[in-house]
C-alpha cells in the first residue's frame, strides 16, 4: 500500500490568504478511512475555509491536499464523484419537493441506482417526501442536505456546521443521522463550534483557532492531556457564592448567571468550598462534580470561551 492510500485525506502545510487576512495558516493533518474527523473552533477560526479547500469549493494559496489519493487542485472532476458535501448554510430550490430534490442531485451524478427511499428513510423524512423545500423546518432542511450529500454513495462526507442554528431537539435528530453514517463506516469530516457535537460524534478532534490547529487528538485524549482537574458546578448560585469561591482562590470561575463553574484539583477542594458556603449561608440550588469537557480544553488552550452562552460569560480567568 502506498502512502497516498494510507490516508483518505492528507493536508500538508495548507495556507489560504484573502488579501491581508490569513484565514488558514500552515495547517497539516491526516484522516484515515472510516474516521469521523471534527474541526472544532469558533466562528471565523478557519474551519470552513479549510474544509472548502479539501472538498474542492475553494483553491488554496499554498500547501497540498491529497484526497482519495488525488491532488484536489488538479483532479476536481474525479474527486467530486467520490465525495458528498453539505456546505455551510446549505439551501436548495424552494419549490422542489424532497424526493424530487434527491432525484435531481442523483441525476447530476448520473447515478442510476440511487436508493432514494433508503436515503429518505436514513434521514427520517418519509412523511415529508412530497413537501416542497421552502415548507421544511431548519432541522428538516439540514437532514435533506445530508441525504443529498449521500446520493452518490460517497467515500468521504463533508458536513460543514450541520447543526448551526438548529434548536436542541432538531440538533439531536441530526446527530442521530450522523451516528448512522458513522455506523455505516463512512469517513466524515465535520466542522462545528458545538463541543458536545464533536465529543459525541468524532474519533479525532482538531481544535482550530485563528487559522491554526492548536491541538488534535481523540476527545478523550484531548481532555486527559489538557486537564488534570475536576469541574464543580454550583447551580443557580447567588453573587455571594461567586465571591466566596473567588476568595478561596479557585479558578477559572465561570458565572453564566445560572451556574457557577469552578476548577478543583481533587475532591477535598469540593468539601472545602461547600463548607465555606455553608458557613457563609450562601444559597445555591444544586451541585455536580464531573470531569472536564472539550469546552474547558478549548478555554485552557486559547484563553477564551468556545461559545458564548445565552447568558454570556463572566469572570473567565
Amino acid at each position: 500500500m502506498t502512502k497516498a492510500t494510507e490516508y483518505v485525506i492528507e493536508v500538508d502545510k495548507l495556507t489560504k490568504r484573502y488579501g491581508d487576512l490569513l484565514a488558514v495558516d500552515d495547517v497539516s493533518f491526516t484522516v484515515s478511512k472510516g474516521e469521523v474527523f471534527a474541526l472544532l473552533g469558533p466562528n471565523g477560526a478557519g474551519k470552513t475555509t479549510t474544509v472548502e479547500i479539501i472538498d474542492t469549493i475553494r483553491t488554496p494559496t499554498s500547501g497540498k491536499v491529497i484526497l482519495l489519493g488525488m491532488d484536489v487542485t488538479k483532479n476536481k472532476h474525479d474527486i467530486v464523484h467520490r465525495i458528498g458535501v453539505l456546505p455551510q448554510g446549505f439551501s436548495s430550490f424552494d419549490r422542489i419537493r424532497v424526493r424530487e430534490t434527491l432525484q435531481y442531485y442523483s441525476r447530476l451524478f448520473c447515478c442510476r441506482n440511487t436508493d432514494i427511499d433508503g436515503l429518505i428513510e436514513l434521514v427520517n423524512l418519509k412523511d415529508k417526501a412530497k413537501e416542497q423545500y421552502k415548507n421544511l423546518s431548519g432541522g428538516l432542511k439540514q437532514r435533506l442536505g445530508i441525504a443529498i450529500a449521500l446520493v452518490n454513495d460517497p467515500e468521504v462526507v463533508f458536513l460543514d456546521e450541520p447543526t448551526t442554528g438548529l434548536d436542541p431537539s432538531a440538533r439531536r435528530e441530526v446527530w442521530e443521522v450522523l451516528q448512522g453514517l458513522k455506523k455505516k463506516g463512512k469517513t466524515v469530516i465535520l466542522t462545528t463550534h458545538y463541543m458536545e457535537e464533536a465529543e459525541l460524534l468524532a474519533d479525532t478532534v482538531a481544535i482550530i483557532s485563528n487559522g491554526k490547529i492548536i491541538a488534535m487528538d481523540s476527545p478523550g485524549e484531548l481532555i486527559k492531556n489538557n486537564t488534570n482537574y475536576l469541574v464543580l458546578t454550583l447551580q443557580s448560585g447567588d453573587d455571594k457564592v461567586f465571591e466566596i469561591v473567588r476568595k478561596l482562590g479557585f479558578g477559572p470561575v465561570l458565572n453564566t448567571q445560572k451556574d457557577i463553574r469552578v476548577r478543583v484539583e481533587h475532591t477535598d477542594d469540593v468539601l472545602k468550598i461547600l463548607n465555606a458556603l455553608r458557613d457563609a449561608g450562601a444559597l445555591y440550588l444544586g451541585l455536580d462534580v464531573r470531569k472536564p469537557n472539550l469546552e474547558e480544553v478549548f478555554l485552557k488552550l486559547t484563553g477564551e470561551a468556545l461559545l458564548v452562552g445565552p447568558f454570556g460569560v463572566r469572570g473567565a480567568a
Binding site: Y18, T56, V80, H81, Q88, R95, I96, L108, Q132
Partner: protein
C-alpha cells in the same frame, strides 16, 4: 457536456417556474400589456380624426359647402362656432387649440375669381390657434393641403407634378405589424437577461451554486440548461404575444423557422450577457441595476418601439452596434418583408455576437466563492 445533467437542470427550473404561478403570469403579461397598449394607440392613429372648430362669418352656400367638404374628407370632426363670438376668446375659453375662420366675402371673392370678373380676387381664411398645442400645426398642415387642392382645381389647368404611392410590399401593412416583431425581440431580451441575472444571483446568495460546485455539473451544462430554459419561456411568451396580436388586432405576419431562430439567438446573446453580469455584480440588487442599465437604452435605441431613422445620426450609429437592433431587423425581415437574405445577414451578425458572449459567459462563470 452531459445531456442528462442539462436535462435534470432544465426540469428543476421548469418545475420551479411552473409552481410559481404569479411570477409566470406577470412574465407573460408584461409584453402582452405592451402590445395591447401600443396596439390600441397605433390602431387609432391609422384612422385618426381631428377635432376642428369652424367659424363661418360668410354664412353663404359656398362657405357652408366648403365646411362640408372638410367634414367629408374624413380627417376632421367639425364643431361650428357662433359668428357673433370672438374666435380668439373662444379658443381660450373652450380650451380648443384651433378655430378656422371663414371671412365675410368668401363666396363673393371665389365667384369673382371663378367667373373671371376679377382675376386678382382672393380671400384669406384665418387659423386662430394655441401655439402650446402640439396637434395645432398638424391640423394647419392638413388644412393647407386641402386648400391647395381647391386652389389647384379652381385654376382650371391640370397639375404639372403628380405623385403616386407604391409600397415595396405586396400587402399593405399597418404600423402594429411592424411593431410586434420589435416587441417580441424586446420581450425575449428582457426575459432572458433578467431571468438569468435574477436566477443566478438568487442561487448564489442562497449557496446553491456552492453546493452545485461539489457535483459533476460543468459551467457549460449549467449555461446550456439556462439557455434551454429561457428558450422555452421565450417560445411560450412569444406564442402568447402572437395569439393576442392575431385575436385583438387581426395582424397579418409571416411566421416560419426564422422566428424560432431569432428567438434562440436572442436568448443565447442575453443569457450570455446575464451570466457575465452575474459574475461581476454579485449582489441581486446591483445585478438587476446593471441589467436595467443595459436593457433600457437598448430597448429605446435599437428600434423596438420606433424606427431608428427618427433618432439623431450618432444615435443611429450606436443603434447599429447593439445586438437587439439586428434581432429587430431580422425579425422584421422575416415576419414583415419576407426577405430571407436580410434575415440571413442579421442572423449571421447576431449569431457571431451570441457565440462570443456565450463563450465569455462560460469563461467568467465561477463556482468558487470569493470572500
Amino acid at each position: 457536456m452531459n445531456l442528462r445533467v442539462v436535462a435534470a437542470n432544465l426540469l428543476v427550473k421548469l418545475m420551479s417556474v411552473y409552481r410559481e404561478k404569479t411570477a409566470m403570469f406577470f412574465t407573460l403579461a408584461f409584453p402582452i400589456i405592451l402590445i395591447l397598449v401600443f396596439g390600441t394607440i397605433f390602431m387609432s392613429q391609422d384612422n385618426v380624426e381631428y377635432h376642428l372648430c369652424v367659424q363661418d362669418l360668410d354664412q353663404t352656400n359656398l362657405s357652408a359647402q366648403s365646411v362640408k367638404t372638410l367634414e367629408l374628407d374624413g380627417k376632421f370632426k367639425i364643431t361650428k362656432v357662433d359668428p357673433a363670438l370672438n374666435a380668439a376668446q373662444y379658443v381660450r375659453d373652450n380650451k380648443v387649440n384651433l378655430v378656422l375662420v371663414i371671412p365675410k366675402g368668401y363666396e363673393r371673392s371665389i365667384l369673382q375669381r371663378a367667373m373671371l370678373s376679377n382675376p386678382n380676387a382672393s380671400v384669406t381664411i384665418t387659423y386662430i390657434y394655441d401655439p402650446s398645442s402640439s396637434s395645432a400645426p398638424t391640423k394647419m398642415q392638413i388644412l393647407d393641403a386641402v386648400f391647395a387642392g381647391i386652389n389647384q382645381k379652381m385654376s382650371g389647368s391640370p397639375p404639372v407634378i403628380k405623385s403616386a404611392e407604391k409600397s415595396i410590399l405586396t400587402k399593405k401593412y399597418r404600423f402594429i405589424e411592424f411593431f410586434i416583431p420589435g416587441i417580441i425581440a424586446m420581450a425575449v431580451m428582457t426575459l432572458s437577461l433578467f431571468g438569468t441575472v435574477n436566477l443566478n444571483t438568487e442561487l448564489r446568495q442562497k449557496g446553491i451554486i456552492r453546493k452545485l460546485s461539489t457535483t459533476p455539473i460543468t459551467r457549460t451544462d449549467w449555461i446550456l440548461s439556462d439557455i434551454l430554459y429561457q428558450f422555452i419561456l421565450a417560445v411560450i411568451s412569444t406564442s402568447a404575444m402572437l395569439l393576442v396580436s392575431y385575436a385583438v388586432f387581426d395582424v397579418s405576419l409571416h411566421i416560419d423557422a426564422w422566428l424560432l431562430a431569432f428567438i434562440l439567438l436572442d436568448v443565447f446573446a442575453f443569457v450570455g450577457i446575464g451570466m457575465i453580469l452575474t459574475r461581476f455584480a454579485r449582489e441581486a440588487q446591483s445585478a438587476a441595476a446593471a441589467a436595467n442599465a443595459i436593457s433600457f437604452p437598448m430597448m429605446f435605441l435599437s428600434g423596438s418601439f420606433f424606427p431608428i431613422e427618427l433618432m439623431p445620426g450618432f444615435l443611429q450609429t450606436i443603434a447599429k452596434i447593439l445586438p437587439l437592433y439586428y434581432i429587430n431587423e431580422g425579425l422584421r425581415a422575416s415576419m414583415v418583408f419576407e426577405d430571407n437574405m436580410a434575415a440571413l445577414r442579421c442572423s449571421a451578425i447576431i449569431g457571431v455576437f451570441a457565440a462570443v458572449v456565450f463563450i465569455l459567459g462560460i469563461i467568467t462563470t465561477k463556482w468558487e466563492e470569493g470572500r
